[in-house]
């Protein structure tokens, strides 16, 4: 254990930072420096070390120190908890006048291991770790430059058994830097008034480098036999040593690390002395040492009591205590030290030897010089040139990083090209992402090494920037679900801000065109994909009107008429002031006037009336209501007591069942017009888009018996109907109206439905048996597949028009259309703000909205087929009243 213990009490001084700062130890140093005027020899120990190696490269120094003990001072260094990435320990052997320097860097596996398991200094991230190890390596190289400048002898410790060729490259790098920094270093030394040779050379001498191998593959099974057999005098180890010397010499010579003139080289190896030492003694672990002692003790079985107290190391147990005076390593090293302290080295070769540079300063001088040199190599240089030279360290040391970076820079444009290849002027986000994946793939295919991640990030940024810079598609979804295909733009209605000022001003356009008919259905035209519901439901139809339907009679639908310029959209929260005024009292008045009305709360939406209005019983017949029916909406509509509409706030969306009270839309999304006064059932409608012989309205026979015998009539009607459906025999006691529900597809195809599941087809005979019964008494779908869907792509038609022919009879027809455009809780949409509308005689056409939009919720056609069935027109959208004409 002695070795270990010594190691600790030996103490260390740190070769750098300024030792002056350290109190009493400085005194010791000064005292010593003043006393000791002899020249000193400086020995540096560098190299790699494995984690558990014993003896380690530090214990080497211990083994050669004089038994009197070295003078050590300074402070212990800890690689992890200090900012230093490497440190130099030193100790001075005052008896032999030798200064020992010991470099600890990340090449000592012990240090590396603690760095790896440390979580300090941002080492937990990969980037931080890489940065740390890189700069630690650079620091180690600087430390080597320092040591090569202030040492006479440099011992390179090899934990293995063969020369580490990595040093060849390292020596090259050190040599390049040394020669470049020489003049700068000379300036530093000149200021200290050192001998001229020293200043010019920038170092004490061309240091001698000695190689130490800690292990060998030679196993001494039968060394004696081998030696004898070959009749050689030298031991195998000696032969190996010489072979390795030759090997190293040839390699360094070839690499021009060592040359004939040692003054010009980074270092020299002695020509006539051994410079390779191979430690052929297996290191003995402490535990084995003691175990063996114990075994021996027991084996000797106390035969020999004297041996019990023997403290001598058994002769056969080498390794652990290397500091025995005759240790071969000590012998090996001391010959060099002795030479350095006496004659100095002359490792020049060749015919015309140059006088070597060799300085052996006193400790004091050396310490001053070393401090200055250390500062030169480790502190930020003021000289720009010197700084640039130090900057080269990174490039020289980290070929991998440089290669990877160079490769990535080369590949980056390739990958960007791959991204832009074949892209249109502007494109969607999906295209962008797909191309980015493609570009990344190209990048990863050609890029290499540790810089990849960083450049991959840059690629992503660059591509995204390219996309967003004038190549991004607007992609604003139209109301039918198609994206706007224009480049990113601002709308003419948008206010110009800093964010959007650079964008071109244009309208949305999905480039999808559909074919549609106008309000009355007599004219078809192309329509552009709408992006707002006003265009969809009002503007386009308004445009068509000028060339077609403006001559037709309109059923007016109430819209908002502003009384003040600052009208605003109202919502459920902002109720109009009028309606808010005293809705309860008004409703009270309403209920007083119409006491039979069962209004139970203030939310008197029209649907509520309808719920009252639709008798469950009328399954098989048209409904009869007398004018005096308590459920008639007439009085309500005419009543002055009815709520007044706001003139300040308007409805943001369309009229539907959940609207707040008293708000009117700015325009009507519906249109109700009278097409003509009469309808010719044999000719049908003459409108475009229908298949031949399919534009017929379905007959709707309404019995005309008095309402007092209503149930009997109903029965009778039933019998009649069963007997002679479709015949005119019951014309005497019934009136015939005509109804048609028209569906329209985006390609302009139109048809009527004859039932919830059935497209109306004209029978070949020309006489059709179907009546309007099914469509009136069943919920009709809002969407239905078009007959043009067979060819692969399916088109959906949408319920667009309702045709009603009202015959001139006392019977009144009430229009009570309620469309539910989505599964519950979707509201019901209807054209009329105040309940059912009465239709006077004539052929009426009710045009439905193109899109349904209420309370800032858009109800597009569901993509899910299951939900499609819940989009419907509620049954009983036409009802019959008798007597007083409706409004």
């Amino acid at each position: 254990m002695g070795c270990l213990a010594r190691c600790h009490c030996m103490g260390q001084i740190d070769g750098y930072p300024d030792p002056v700062l350290h109190g009493e130890q400085v005194e010791t140093r000064d005292e010593l420096s003043n006393v000791d005027e002899n020249g000193i020899c400086v020995v540096s120990v560098i190299g790699k070390n494995s984690q558990n190696s014993l003896p380690s490269k530090a214990s080497l120094i211990t083994s050669v120190l004089s038994p009197q003990g070295p003078l050590g001072y300074g402070f212990p260094c800890d690689l992890i908890n200090s900012d230093q990435k490497c440190c130099i320990e030193c100790s001075y052997d005052r008896t032999s006048h030798v200064m020992y320097l010991h470099l600890q860097s990340i090449h000592d596996m012990k240090n590396m291991a603690s760095i790896c398991s440390s979580m300090l200094q941002n080492l937990d991230t990969q980037e931080g770790f890489d940065k740390f190890t890189q700069s630690a390596e650079q620091d180690a190289a600087r430390a080597l430059l320092f040591m090569f400048s202030v040492s006479h002898i440099i011992l390179i410790h090899h934990p293995g058994s063969s020369f580490d060729v990595g040093y060849v490259k390292l020596f090259h790098i050190l040599d390049i830097l040394r020669s470049k920094l020489l003049s700068h270093l000379g300036e530093v030394l000149r200021s200290l008034h050192l001998p001229k040779d020293w200043v010019n050379a920038g170092r004490l001498c061309a240091p001698r480098v000695l190689f130490l191998f800690q292990s060998t593959l030679l196993v001494d099974d039968k060394p004696a036999v081998v030696s004898k057999g070959r009749g050689q005098k030298t031991s195998p180890v000696k032969r190996l040593q010489h072979a390795v010397e030759d090997q190293i010499y040839r390699i360094l010579r070839k690499a021009r690390i060592i040359t004939n003139i040692s003054n010009n080289s980074l270092f020299a190896v002695p020509a006539n002395q051994e410079f390779v030492f191979i430690n052929r003694e297996n290191s003995l672990q402490p535990i084995n040492f003691f175990a063996e002692k114990l075994t021996r003790k027991c084996a000797s079985n106390l035969d020999d009591d004297s041996s019990y107290f023997e403290h001598q190391v058994p002769s056969g147990t080498p390794g652990l205590l290397m500091h025995s005076p005759n240790h071969p390593f000590r012998e090996f090293l001391s010959q060099h030290i002795e030479l350095a302290l006496s004659k100095g080295f002359d490792d020049n070769m060749g015919r015309n030897p140059v006088p070597p540079v060799f300085e052996s300063p006193s400790l004091k001088v050396w310490l001053e010089a070393a401090q200055a040199v250390h500062a030169f190599f480790f502190e930020e240089p003021k000289d720009i040139k010197a700084k640039a030279h130090f900057g080269q360290l990174h490039n020289l040391l980290h070929t991998n990083a440089r290669f990877s970076e160079g490769r990535c820079i080369k590949v980056l444009p390739l990958a960007e090209k791959a991204y832009q290849e074949g892209l249109p002027h502007h494109y969607t986000q999906a295209d962008h992402l797909a191309m980015l994946v493609q570009a990344k793939r190209v990048f990863m295919q050609h890029a290499r090494g540790p810089a990849c991640h960083q450049y991959l990030k840059q690629l992503e940024q660059d591509c995204t920037k390219f996309w967003e810079n004038g190549h991004r598609m607007c992609e604003h979804q139209s109301l039918t679900g198609n994206p706007c295909t224009n480049e990113l733009h601002r709308l003419p209605s948008d206010e110009e801000t800093d964010d959007n000022a650079h964008l071109p001003e244009m309208e949305h356009c999905s480039q999808v065109k559909t074919r549609a008919a106008c309000n009355c259905g007599r004219r078809q035209a192309e329509r552009e994909d709408p992006f707002d519901y006003k265009t969809a439901n009002f503007d386009w139809y308004e445009k068509q009107e000028s060339s077609c339907c403006h001559t037709l009679d309109k059923h007016p639908l109430p819209t908002f008429t502003p009384t003040s310029p600052d009208s605003r959209a109202g919502g459920k929260i902002h109720r109009g002031p009028q309606s808010l005024g005293s809705p309860d009292s008004k409703l009270e008045a309403v209920s007083t006037a119409l006491s039979h009305l069962t209004l139970s709360n203030g939310n008197s939406s029209p649907s509520l009336y309808q719920d009252e209005f639709n008798p469950e019983a009328s399954q098989d017949q048209a409904m009869h209501c007398s004018a005096s029916s308590p459920h008639s909406p007439i009085e309500l509509d005419d009543s002055e007591l009815c709520r007044q509409h706001s003139t300040v706030e308007y409805l943001a969306g369309m009229v539907h069942s959940d609207n707040p009270l008293g708000l009117l839309p700015k325009f009507s999304s519906w249109s109700i017009r009278m097409l003509s006064k009469s309808y010719n059932p044999s000719a049908g409608l003459d409108q475009p888009g229908f298949l031949h012989f399919t534009s017929y309205l379905l007959p709707w026979d309404i019995p005309t018996q008095g309402s007092d015998i209503w149930p009997i009539a109903s029965k009778k009607y039933k019998q009649n109907r069963k007997a002679k459906v479709g015949s005119d025999s019951n014309a005497a006691n019934s009136v015939r109206f005509y109804v048609g529900l028209e569906y329209e597809c985006p390609r302009g195809h139109r048809f009527f439905m004859s039932g919830p599941e059935k497209i109306f087809k004209a029978p070949a005979s020309g006489v059709f048996k179907e009546t309007a019964h099914k469509i009136l008494h069943h919920d009709m779908p809002l969407y239905f597949p078009c007959h043009c869907s067979r060819s692969g792509k399916s088109f959906m038609t949408q319920l667009m028009r309702l045709f009603v022919y009202v015959a001139d009879t006392p019977l009144q027809i009430a229009l009570n259309v309620r469309v539910q455009p989505a599964p519950p809780p979707s509201p019901n949409f209807h054209p009329h703000v105040e309940g059912p509308l009465a239709l006077p005689p004539g052929l009426w056409v009710v045009r439905f909205p193109y899109v349904y939009y209420g309370d800032s919720v858009h109800y597009p056609m569901p993509s899910d087929a299951q939900q499609l069935s819940s989009c419907k027109l509620h049954k009983e959208f036409l009802t019959v009243c008798e007597g007083t004409p409706l409004r």
């Binding site: 790699k48 040839r250 390699i251 090494g449």
Partner: protein
Amino acid sequence: MEQSVKLVDEDLLWCESGNFALQDQTDFSVIGAIGLQGSGKSTVLSHLAGVVPQEANRSVVFHPQSRTVREVCSHQTAGIDLHLTEERTIFLDSQPVLSASILDQMIQHDVKYHGEYSTVENCMEMQSLQLGSFLFTVCNIVIVVMEGFSDLNVFRFLQTAEMLKPQTPQPHDSPSEGLSEIYPHIVFVVNHAGADDFKAGSYEKMQTVISRLMSQSNLKFKGVCNMRDLIPGLSSSSPHSDVNLYLLPEKASVSDQLDDPLSMHYRGYPTFEFIIESLTKKLLAMPRHLLTHTTLTEKNWFHYAARSWESVKKSGLISEYNRLLP
């Protein structure tokens, strides 16, 4: 196959001799070894190939360094040797990388290195990288044999070789481009480990170092074989605990194996034979992964390897790297 045959000769030229024993079947795996000079690649591979350790050199598949070689600190294996076992495992033993002896030999024989290499040591380094890249391309498992756990350069070398590895060839008939690269499994074997190395803390430290140093690598250096079942006290909670690391102690010398109780030493770790057997079992039990995107037969593999060797030798990447060397 009793002896190994040359796949690549000492001049690093491809040899066709390895082809004869290969069959047209697809159930095989390739294990290669790489490492510095004298780290024990041949010895470890010979043991993995099932050679009884005690027997004399003659029956060894891959020749370990002879005494003469050791005495001059030279290298034994030159080029790449191939050995095929009955279990259809192909073992590839390569010459040492970054070897002083090979460098010295090149200098002594005045090898005409290719004009593109500025110095002979760069030439040697590039050759080493070629060997490494080649093994990464054609092996399922590459065993990195180290003489003691001390050299960071080994890890740097592995990452450089990985960086310069030629691309996994894309199948011609595949419509989708850019299938992912295939990387081999890496198993670190530390030879000549001492008693201290077998302590749990030590072993974990080594795993941590490997894991941190290799963390950017795509080589699969985790999850195949570690010594958790051999070293007591290892915690499995460490994030690095599944790094492929095996420690091999010194082989006990003949004298130690005598039954003399007095010469019995306290070891504190399993014997060499026991550990190598455990390693063999784990390596051979590994699922056999594809080397390319298409399934190869042994014969296909040989041709694939020949092509890979050529592409490694002519690699633009490698010459690009070479130009950056100082």
